[in-house]
Symmetry: C2
Subunit: 320 residues, 2 copies
């Protein structure tokens, strides 16, 4: 079917870790949302699913909200036509780092279901060597298949039936750190280059490309050029300003120090992304609950829209 | 206020691990529910919250669905009247074992929020020594407070403000096993008596008592007597028959071998619970997606109702 020869990308979750609202937060946004007084949307934790044939689906990271995200997405639910009562159209998960909001969903994908996980060797080691819970993915022989990925080395994504898809993923190492739970001693044994990845995925049939950057501290010339060659980019939209979390909750680090480029200001993501060709669809995701752009009546939201950018929300679908 | 002097128990989640529907399952129940053809309710993973003053809340286990469960329960959301934008009325979590569907929610309760966890020493060691991710609960000094609990040794529950509540919890060791991910070698270093607990919680002000038994392989005379002295019991309602999962998905173990008394048959929970005084409110929880009782048009559901028992569902509230 002709209609199948496209890459479809679904933004299942668009919030940073904790979601929106966040369980213990009563900031302006969370309070207004709970009271029904915000012109804005609740959001689950960041999650993307994509497919080039609408049969096999690939997850970019595995969010803690994955169970609800699957139940709100019929394409990701098991087929009822097969012989086994257990099935999934999810062929694989590609991890960009070991952050809890990107990996906890793997622990929801158990129930003896075969699953393929692409990650750097270091991220795999953190999960499988330092966290015994991940043995739940390995109850049956061959249940979980880990494939180590290497920066700037493209790999083909394999579908649910073992047949290669038309999708090729290229991971790029970003200058960043391992999650706090890894600890400095353990981190020193791991390759710094394997802490955080950005992904570029191309459909070789249509030559369409998307980039996935849920956590990036700066958009340098090489990234601006790379994004310019894509058709769709999901960009880190965690914070509005560099000092946002410091001011609101006394967090010890700035947005950039946490590995997140702020949206506003000089060399912020809005300024830089708006310079890129308007034919590239640019979508913010991984939006923190404190980000004032979540208020769709506010000047920050208008600023994003006027720059030709999109504030991502759960359930958005992009066809390339 | 007089109305505050009662124990309120909320059943926030009533399903076994995986929830209902389960992400990779197309059994009769899951398929019919997704199609909108089941006279039955979707369920999140088992979770109870209780309070004796409606200010401080205590969680029995911490389910992977806790984020959504908190957002659907205003009492568990942060106060917006305090000085800090970060707050929770959840004073503590009491763990009955180290199963993923009972502990993953702890990893959702981060964001530097102080939290008190009651568990056996062995369960604490599994989480904190064998799973580096739990360091996320310990970013700030004093953020997480672990209290080791001992079978048949009552302890007082402490409220959010550090003032003791009127609730006393007595844990009871059950003959059972550690989760599969713990492995036999590690399990041999741990006390078998600390693998699985049942809880009895009494409000010393009203003398009302509830029992929480989300996983129990058999209801012996001592348990039947203990339940008979309670006002409310949440009992393991995982499977309808002992062979249920073996037949449906080729699981290697029976219900009892997995530590779950089946509902039906000789020495099943329906037969035994129906003998207990009808003044005790008896509620099934931790109901597996495959359990035919989930179909409210079916004979199994009628059998439960006719025996004076309740098939628990999300959102139920019990005042004692």
């Amino acid at each position: 079917m002709c209609q199948n020869f496209r890459m479809q990308t679904k933004l299942l979750g668009s919030s940073a870790g904790g979601g929106f609202p966040q369980w213990n937060c009563s900031c302006t946004n969370c309070r207004a949302l709970r009271k029904g007084e915000l012109n804005g949307k609740s959001r689950t934790q960041s999650q993307v699913a994509l497919s080039s044939d609408l049969k096999s689906w690939f997850l970019l990271n595995a969010s803690p909200d994955l169970r609800a995200q699957i139940e709100s997405t019929p394409e990701l639910q098991p087929s009822s036509s097969g012989q086994s009562i257990r099935h999934t159209p999810i062929a694989a998960v590609i991890l960009t780092n070991a952050d809890l909001d990107h990996v906890l969903g793997l622990l929801l994908m158990r129930e003896s279901q075969p699953i393929h996980v692409y990650a750097t060797k270091s991220v795999r080691r953190i999960l499988t060597e330092d966290n015994s819970m991940f043995k739940m993915l390995d109850q049956k022989q061959g249940q979980v298949k880990w494939t180590d990925v290497v920066s700037e080395t493209p790999f083909e994504l394999c579908g649910v039936d073992g047949v290669k898809s038309t999708l090729i993923c290229t991971p790029f190492s970003l200058p960043s750190k391992y999650p706090i739970y890894v600890g400095s001693e353990r981190a020193s044994e791991l390759s710094r280059e394997e802490a955080v990845l950005a992904l570029v995925i191309e459909d070789t049939k249509t030559k369409k490309k998307m980039a996935y950057l849920p956590g990036i501290a700066a958009l340098d010339e090489s990234w601006l050029k790379r994004i310019g060659s894509c058709d769709l980019v999901f960009c880190d939209g965690t914070f509005w300003t560099d000092e946002e979390l410091k001011k609101l909750s006394g967090a010890p680090r700035t947005s950039r120090e946490m590995g997140h480029i702020p949206m506003s200001g000089e060399l912020g993501s809005i300024e830089l992304l708006s310079k890129i060709d308007r034919r590239v669809t640019k979508v913010f995701t991984h939006i923190n609950n404190t980000n004032p752009a979540l208020n769709e009546n506010g000047p920050e939201y208008a600023c994003i829209r006027d720059a030709g950018l999109i504030l991502g929300h759960d359930g958005m679908v992009f066809d390339l």
